[in-house]
């Protein structure tokens, strides 16, 4: 029990952030019309592409003679960029059509 409480105490801000982010995520989404389900999923998909930031850090941190890490970082950055760029572009294409119709 003591371990649990000390963990809680040390990471209090982080845990607050986690809890609020989860509630925020739920709150923001819960009233979305069915029309927007696909674009929304696609948009959310692009946002988790933020792992790209981690991939960049891995590549920065890899030593120059550590080929495995360099390759891992390189492929991870390619994948992450695909996720981000492709994700936002596809979502934009979908939503472009919704807009046109309002004229």
């Amino acid at each position: 029990m003591e371990v649990f409480f000390s963990f809680l105490h040390e990471n209090l801000l982080l845990i607050y952030l986690l809890a609020f982010s989860i509630l925020l995520g739920i709150e923001v989404i819960s009233k979305v019309p069915a029309v927007l389900h696909t674009p929304l999923m696609s948009g959310a998909n692009a946002i988790h592409g933020v792992v790209l930031v981690g991939a960049i850090i891995v590549l920065f941190n890899a030593r120059a003679d550590d080929y495995l890490s360099l390759v891992l970082g390189f492929v991870a950055v390619v994948f992450g960029t695909l996720n981000v760029v492709g994700g936002f572009a596809v979502t934009d294409r979908m939503l472009e059509m919704f807009k046109k119709k309002k004229k």
Binding site: S21, P39, I57, M97
Partner: protein
């Protein structure tokens, strides 16, 4: 020093744009702007990392140049392929594309975890990470890998590259349970007991997790693919958040958690639309074993075909027509010609409306996206409950390539795998015209009594072709 502060500020702005962007995405008027807002935030976060992250200055001279070259090459390759793919893909293939991009995000996270694990066992004076951080690394590896192979398989399934039955093993769910238990056991072993051999066991975990992702999606029927993609989407969100904790990176944490939470809610909304629980979708093998359940007496029933000209007359002289689009409309790219028929009938004084089932097509909202592409106005689209009211008062319902979402078995055959799912009750209309390529069963692989219904007339052929012929027939009347 000040560079790090600037980075903190950029991450803060990016996190806020994600929240605001998601909020705006959930309203039709602001959706596109919302996506752009989030994209700008993402750009700031990535640029900031490239320029100001403390690890960017790790090396000096040649090494630094080499790594920067590698980095920018990777960004250019990924960005270019992503952009081209997103702009080349047909509207009908959007769901696959989302699945593909999602899988790549998961793959990215899994590779991060491998690199991080390697750093641990390098013996290069790297500070050993805490037990908690180790669990997070392994967690990221697990969920990232599952998301990667799972999404790839979902992509292949939606592209009709694989058949459900071909990749389902006997006792599939038992094998999956064993794999899952093995993975959890390995995570425990690597964290607390593996010692020096952790890297090797980590790679084994990586391999099993990749296999598990494939096995996880394999038995799930095509009709449930949207739910699976949504689940995998929130998995990737969670891995991004876990990686955010590992790297002490708040923008990753916030972005990941937002997607994890909203993805879970979206999954629940989709399951609700099908009146099933998530467990039922993920564990009950829908497309595989259940298919035999509802094949009752299809052989000895007869169907009625209708000719194009008869159908045209019927449509043109009725008061109200309801169009029920399904995946067939998407495959045939028939949304524009569908709109043309709609306009033609309207100009002849027929009232035309659309009934949209929430899971028609391969993704919730799939039909709305397609019809939006063809400039069909919002107010003509009706969702389930309203649509059923309208249908019961209408003269003709045209079902364009929809099947499972108009199956009466969902209402009155408890042995059917889709029993209990809300459907569009098209058989309540005075006449039903079903456009279909053949008598093949729908994506869920089950028979549809609707085709044998007394009020149903079948119009076989490719949806686009048939609609085209209908349009010219109505014009010549």
């Amino acid at each position: 020093m000040s560079a790090t502060y600037l980075l903190d500020l950029l991450y803060l702005i990016a996190s806020l744009t994600f929240v605001v962007g998601l909020k705006m995405l959930s309203h039709p008027d602001t959706a596109r702007r919302g996506n752009q807002v989030a994209a700008v935030g993402m750009g700031l976060a990535v640029m900031g990392t490239l320029l100001f992250h403390p690890s960017a200055d790790r090396d000096l001279g040649d090494v630094r140049t080499f790594k920067l070259l590698l980095l920018y090459a990777a960004l250019a390759i990924g960005g270019m392929i992503g952009w081209l793919a997103a702009y080349r893909v047909k509207m009908t293939s959007m769901p696959q594309m989302v699945s593909l991009f999602n899988g790549l995000g998961g793959g990215c996270a899994a590779l991060l975890a491998v690199a991080e694990l390697k750093l641990q066992y390098d013996g290069a004076g790297h500070d050993p990470i805490s037990t908690g951080a180790m669990i997070l690394v392994l967690f990221t590896m697990f969920f990232g890998s599952v998301s990667f192979t799972g999404s790839m398989l979902a992509y292949a399934k939606l592209e009709d590259m694989v058949k459900d039955s071909a990749i389902t093993l006997p006792r599939h769910s038992v094998i999956n349970m064993i794999l899952l238990a093995g993975i959890l056991g390995l995570i425990g072993y690597i964290t607390w007991g593996a010692g020096e051999n952790g890297m090797m066991w980590g790679l084994i975990l990586f391999g099993i997790a990749l296999v598990y992702g494939f096995m996880f999606v394999a038995p799930i029927g095509g009709a449930d693919m949207p739910v699976v993609i949504s689940v995998l989407n929130s998995f990737t969100g969670l891995t991004a958040a876990a990686a955010g904790i590992i790297y002490d990176n708040l923008v990753m944490l916030v972005g990941g958690i937002l997607v994890g939470a909203s993805g879970s809610i979206l999954t629940i909304l989709m399951c609700k639309a099908m009146n099933r629980s998530i467990m039922n979708v993920l564990v009950g093998s829908f497309g595989g074993g259940g298919a035999a359940g509802a094949g009752k007496a299809a052989g000895d029933q007869t169907i009625k075909e209708v000719s194009i000209s008869d159908a045209a007359v019927l449509l043109n002289y009725s008061g109200s027509v309801v169009i029920v689009p399904g995946y067939g409309l998407a495959v045939a790219q028939a949304q524009k010609i569908c709109k043309e028929l709609d306009e033609l009938l309207e100009s002849n004084g027929v009232e035309v409306k659309y009934a949209i089932h929430p899971v028609a097509g391969r993704m919730p909202g799939h039909m709305n996206v397609l019809l939006a592409e063809a400039d069909v106005p919002y107010p003509k689209l009706f969702d389930l409950e309203e649509a059923n009211d309208i249908i019961s008062k209408s003269d003709v319902v045209i079902v364009v390539g929809a099947n499972d979402v108009v199956n009466p078995a969902a209402k009155d055959d408890p042995s059917s795998p889709i029993y209990g799912m809300p459907v569009l009750e098209v058989w309540e209309a005075k006449n039903v015209i079903v456009m279909k390529r053949s008598m093949k069963s729908g994506y869920a692989g089950i028979e549809n009594e609707l085709f044998f219904h007394a009020r149903t007339k079948m119009l076989f052929g490719d949806a686009k072709d048939t609609l085209q012929k209908l349009v010219s027939e109505v014009k010549s009347l």
